[in-house]
């Protein structure tokens, strides 16, 4: 066994062990929720465990001659190349795990551009009005698409239940706080601005929302507006988009950028630029702790 071959065995095992432990740590610590949607989280955990097993396998089970039997031993990299490769694999991962803050900072959010129009939301399906009954009194086709907000935000405990023809029934599913205010997400109001049946659930009603404070992007001559932002993730954080709702306050708020705030106010939907836009007229804005799921899936 040459030095290069021996080193390769231990470096490979070490790299696999570090990667495997990092992935399993992210899963079992719950940090994975900030990086991946639930659909991908289990896969990452399994990959982590498999990598740990492979690390043991590579170290104790695979003989160095196993790979040589087909001439691959001729391609064992030089020691310097092996060390550089291991450094590329390990250093960024460890730095990322140590430094990564479980969320984007303000500059990255601004660079991604806010979503304040439901049509710009990943996975949005245009609303279809329910079909009218046919002559025999039956619904002609499956009536309407389910309220996307319900599907899109189900995992984050969002407000809006599936839209049905029975508004009364809807109301019973809308979660409220102890004061009777509707607990809403930014994404709910974005959808409500587009869909009449959902809008009636919110319009001119008191809502309670949690999000991150960002300075208003414009149209703020008195300095009494800000944007309440939540990140909406499709598959992983890299594709997440900031979903923003404008908050109108009585006076300019002195809150640090990106800090979490709870807003209580009345949901309105004025026409801005030819389309209905959600604006919450706040009666109260106060700092709060981040929610359990900082992302909306």
């Amino acid at each position: 066994m040459t030095t290069a071959t021996g080193l390769q065995r231990y470096l490979s095992s070490g790299v696999l062990m570090i990667w495997g432990m990092t992935l399993t740590y992210f899963y079992f610590s719950g940090r994975v929720a900030s990086y991946l949607t639930p659909a991908f989280q289990t896969g990452a955990m399994i990959a982590g465990i498999v990598m740990i097993l492979l690390a043991f396998g590579r170290c104790f089970v695979v003989r160095d001659t196993d790979a040589c039997c087909q001439g691959e031993c001729a391609h064992v990299p030089k020691i310097s190349a092996q060390l550089i490769g291991a450094a590329i694999l390990v250093i960024p991962l460890i730095c990322a795990a140590a430094i990564s803050p479980n969320g984007f900072d303000a500059s990255a959010i601004k660079n991604r551009g806010y979503v304040d129009n439901v049509a710009a939301l990943p996975g949005y399906k245009p609303y279809q009005e329910p079909a009218l009954p046919t002559d025999n009194g039956q619904a002609s086709v499956p009536t309407s698409t389910p309220a996307p907000a319900a599907a899109a935000t189900a995992s984050s405990g969002s407000t809006v239940a599936a839209s049905t023809d029975n508004a009364q029934q809807d109301q019973t599913f809308i979660p409220r706080n102890e004061a009777g205010q509707i607990k809403a997400q930014t994404i709910d109001l974005i959808y409500a601005a587009q869909e009449p049946s959902m809008r009636s659930d919110f319009e001119n009603k008191d809502v309670e929302m949690i999000g991150q404070f960002m300075p208003a992007r414009g149209n703020n001559p008195n300095g009494d507006r800000f944007d309440l932002v939540r990140m909406f993730m499709v598959c992983c954080a890299a594709d997440a988009r900031p979903v923003a709702v404008t908050i109108q306050t009585k006076s300019p708020e002195k809150v640090a950028e990106m800090s979490w705030v709870k807003v209580v106010g009345k949901a309105t939907f004025p026409m801005v630029g030819g389309r209905m836009t959600p604006v919450v007229v706040a009666s109260e804005v106060k700092p709060c702790d981040p929610p359990e799921d900082t992302f909306i899936y």
């Binding site: 039997c69 990564s100 984007f104 990943p122």
Partner: protein, 305 residues
């Protein structure tokens, strides 16, 4: 700060980097495990017997193989590396490599879902069809090239031929060898994956998207700039349709180009491909695909979708 075209933030970079790594590594690992098993348990004779003898039909079969053996773009490179070693013609492997991340059941479902209500069926059919066509055309071009101009040294056996006609040895020893090969393939490709993800994460977090959106003012500009965006963002082919569907202001040809070019060539893939192919070939493939996909999508003139 938000109006600058480039604002780098190390924490956001690492955040994006970790998210793509955690999403992509399971697929990369799956591909590597398959590559080890293919190497040790797939007799090359069997594989070659199943392939059509006609080279063109062989390429078409390769491009359609993703329907049966679906792979995403991250995991496919270790697999085709082993298939080439098993004697799969290079052109067939290229067709499979380029088409499988698009022409596969998961991507069909996700594209249909993402574009539901926005001509989803038409979009999905065109994505599959053009993806298949481009993969076949690229593979036919590769067919005329010498292997030495395409593959890196050491990727195929020293004699340049098929390594074995039938795997030999006991099952435990073959499993051990498969494990060793899987680990070796995984780490080889992982290095390039990490470099590619690091670069795409830089663009993903530091470049102001509105400066990219501004390029999309006409069909030609929109189509080619969206391919550039796909190359930079390096999204997974199973999820990119959900992103493309949000570009509502863009012409359909631009969205289609985004969905076809991205899974075939992006920043992370440039590095992953470099584990198997020569740099010059990868560069040529990137330019060729960029032009071919762009021209086809623009010429389709599907502005009505």
């Amino acid at each position: 700060m938000g109006d600058s075209w480039f604002t780098f933030s190390l924490p956001s970079f690492f955040f994006s980097f970790l998210s793509v790594v955690q999403e992509g590594v399971p697929f990369l690992l799956l591909g590597s495990l398959m590559s080890g098993l293919i190497d040790q348990f797939l007799p090359s004779r069997t594989m070659l017997r199943l392939l059509p003898r006609n080279p063109f039909m062989g390429i078409c079969a390769g491009a359609a193989m993703g329907l049966v053996f679906p792979m995403c773009e991250c995991g496919i490179v270790p697999v085709i590396r082993r298939l080439i070693n098993k004697g799969l013609p290079l052109s067939n492997a290229i067709a499979y490599m380029l088409a499988a991340p698009i022409v596969n059941p998961l991507v069909i479902i996700s594209t249909l879902a993402a574009f539901r209500g926005q001509h989803g069926v038409e979009f999905t059919i065109m994505r599959m069809g053009i993806g298949f066509l481009v993969a076949v055309l690229a593979a036919m071009a590769v067919q005329k090239m010498p292997v030495s101009a395409v593959l890196r040294e050491g990727v195929i056996a020293p004699d340049g031929g098929v390594r074995d006609s039938a795997p030999q040895g006991s099952i435990p020893s073959r499993l051990r060898a498969a494990l060793g090969i899987s680990v070796s393939d995984f780490l080889d490709v992982l290095v390039f994956f990490v470099i590619g993800v690091a670069i795409s994460s830089t663009f993903n977090t530091a470049v102001n998207q509105k400066f990219i959106d501004a390029l999309a003012s006409n069909v030609w500009l929109a189509t080619f700039s969206m391919m550039g965006v796909a190359g930079i963002l390096s999204l997974c082919s199973t999820s990119d349709a959900f992103i493309a569907a949000t570009f509502i202001a863009l012409p359909a040809s631009a969205k289609l180009a985004f969905l076809i070019f991205g899974p075939m060539m992006d920043l992370k893939l440039v590095f992953i491909y470099s584990a198997v192919f020569k740099k010059r070939f990868v560069l040529g493939l990137a330019i060729g695909l960029f032009i071919l996909v762009g021209l086809i999508c623009v010429r389709m003139n599907i502005t009505q979708l």
